[in-house]
Amino acid sequence: MAEPVLALRDVRKQFGGLVVSDNVTFSVAPGELHAIIGPNGAGKTTLINQISGVLMPDSGTILFGGRDITRLGPPERARLGLARSFQITSVLPGFSALENVALAVQARSGSSFRFFGDAAGETALNEPALAALAEVGLADRAEVPAGHLAHGEKRALELAMALVTEPKLLLLDEPMAGTGREETARLIGVLRRLKGRFAMMLVEHDMTAVFALADRISVLIYGRIMISGTPDEVREDPQVVAAYLGDELE
């Protein structure tokens, strides 16, 4: 079996007395779309924060491409090929959609310690940025300030920013949250086309999206992975249905 892109071993995180990651162990294989589902407060975002380096685990190890990244900061992890989106939309509101994505390109292409030359006019940055915007359906919104985009468009923009960094692993924290039915369908389409290009870890409450996209699903409850398996295995697990899916699949 190929070496996993991401592997967590006994990752533990506590906020005061509250155990939010309870010895979490799981892995994401190359090209796999691994969904994490679980009720509110289960610790999904906290897990993504630890994988992207925004939070440090209390104990346990995180391997990325076989390398121990447990103690690296967010920029170092991003540079190794880890991209993420945020549950609460996180774009640069004062920058145009294009400039948001171009900045993400800039993070990967050459040094940013360049003090001369107009960054906004660099084709090497703008071309891939426009291509990514087109990919998520925002081509005609390129010049709009990100702060003025509709909610669903901001989510798509976040996706474009992540795409363009050509990550090895993309962490998505509820990309469909707060989007309408049509937007959700569109985002599912975008993610489906991206599948296989790189591995993804998708945290999502929208079960239609999860079961349409995931290769594997892990169910997280009170910080503990209850089961990891194929969508069919998870759908039929009586424990999961009782604990979580029961209400979600109505």
Binding site: G73, F116, G117, T165
Partner: protein, 337 residues
Amino acid sequence: MKAPSASPSAPVTSPPRSRLRSLALPALLFVALAILPLAALAASAGYVLDLFTRVMIFSVAALSVDLLIGYAALVTFGQAAFVGIGAYAVGILSSHGITDALVALPVAMTAAGLFALLTGIVCLRTKGVYFIMITLAFGQMAFFTASSLAPYGGDDGLTLADRNTLAGLALFGRPLVFYYVVLAVLIASYALCRSLVASRFGRVLRGTKENALRMTTLGFRVYRFQLVAYVIAGMLSGLAGFLLANATEFVSPAYMSWQRSGELIIMVLLGGIGTLHGAIVGAAAFLLLEEWLAGFTEHWKMIFGPLLVLVVVFVRGGLIGIAAALGRAVARRFGRG
């Protein structure tokens, strides 16, 4: 799925016309400063020349403050320290008989840059109010250090024997020449800052101002960019200090006081933050208003303070903002007629 409407190879630079227009105001400003001496000479008022030389020197310092506050969201409350260090470099060298700008200028800028590097390493680990307070603390540290420099005048400061020479030539001694030297420095500083904020480097600073966490998770080590910006701003202020020492032929700890740092912030707010030329307009408005009110009544500070507060609080975008709004109103009127 919408079909992509713009091909990826479509040019995406802002249209040249809007870029020209955005340079119109600063260009106008520099032309006005360039022809001002002619008017001053006609009126045989040498003090106007001195006054505007001061305006331009403080403009350079205010530019550095705008670079930090307006583009990098680093609210520095100790910028006067760098001005003072630049000035003291000139004063101390001159008291040891080294009076050429070819030595004094690099020493002034390097000393200020070094101080920025060492203090920046500490300051930039803090955020928000803590950053403001710690830059203030380092500023005060520089102030008290200067006050205790007994061999160089201590509290009383240090009078220069003469202005710096330039490669042995006593050019700075002639007010008109010095005026144009300062103008050239101001234009060069402005051009440098303009280029910086539009560059890749400047875009990272602006992005960090918008959303630092996002920048970090994109892979930018924002601390390094902020530190470089802090050093550049420090050197620019050191340059202003070099000019200030030459203009006044005097250096004093007062150059480094926290009031001076506060004034630089007020200049930037007054002119319009995050615009660069706003810093120049603000420095001019501040110093001219101060001058005018002081000639008007001895209680001028009672008018000056509240007036500044009113402008800063009620006019978002500062004087540049007012000018832009007026410009739009005029354009609308003529556009319709």
